[in-house]
Symmetry: C2
Subunit: 137 residues, 2 copies
DNA sequence: GCCTAAATGCAAGTTGTTTGCAATTAAAAA
DNA sequence: TTTTTAATTGCAAACAACTTGCATTTAGGC
């Protein structure tokens, strides 16, 4: 099972491999968890322009290399969308705002059809509540 | 089965019944569908201050009179949370951005527990794709 | 009718995200 | 390898949704 690298994710796609794309993808692959634009910006030591990060996130999302996992009022979260990371539910902590990935046994239903000619491209399941850390005290 | 009125929704709650609260709640009851702050603002002919609308939506949400149904990047959507309108999934059209309510036979699981001491307060199920209107052409 | 705490309107502020544009750069062509 | 050129970047300014501070108004108890 091949590991993801910035280059393997971009190859065969007519996308220029720039230094900043390698850095951004490296950071995305490095963290196993959902991330926001400003998470990336912070983890890269604020050295890369936020506009570049936003532009690349949009591009990667359009290419299906990453996917949006949660739209919080204050921020958009993404995660890597490669085959090692199939779609799954997420948990949002109402107190600390952290997002957790929830494993599930059965794959989520996708691209199904609902009554009345709705074409479903994505089924989103999320839980909201109190995470173990915040529930402790 | 009693109908909702602005007054019935607010009664017994130590909340001042102001003119603008009656108007806002009237509009919310009037439309059967999910709405955003600016939907309300528009439907009221832009006569009520947006700050007032935002403050009242927050208050109504805290009181459990309305609930958030979807956080889109650009807007928060709410719906009436009275007993005539139990929780249910929603469909978001990726093309036109419209939100549809999806009826379902079994009530959604709520306030359940997941492994590892996650306390679930809300289970959100949503579909994203192409709505009947946008699928037509 | 009077009084007070709470709600409103207005204007200014915040925050996440987007856009215009000149300078840089990857990579195709020569 | 050098040249060429179209795409990408960084910067600064713009946007849009939402929030906040504050003086004025108002609901509702007295």
């Amino acid at each position: 099972m091949d590991k993801c690298t910035p280059e393997s994710l971009l190859e065969g796609r007519n996308i220029k491999i720039t230094r900043q794309r390698q850095i951004v993808l490296g950071a995305i692959i490095g963290t196993g968890k959902p991330f926001s634009a400003s998470d990336l910006h912070d983890s890269l030591g604020s050295e890369m322009d936020l506009a570049t990060i936003y532009r690349n996130l949009e591009m990667l999302c359009g290419e299906g290399i990453i996917r949006q996992v949660m739209n919080e009022k204050e921020r958009q979260y993404y995660e890597l969308a490669c085959k090692h990371n199939p779609e799954h539910p997420h948990f949002y902590c109402n107190i600390c705002g952290k997002i957790y990935c929830m494993k599930q046994d059965k794959p989520m239903r996708l691209k199904s059809r609902l009554p009345g000619d709705f074409t479903v491209e994505q089924t989103v399941l999320q839980y909201r509540g109190i995470c173990p850390d915040c529930g402790k005290e």
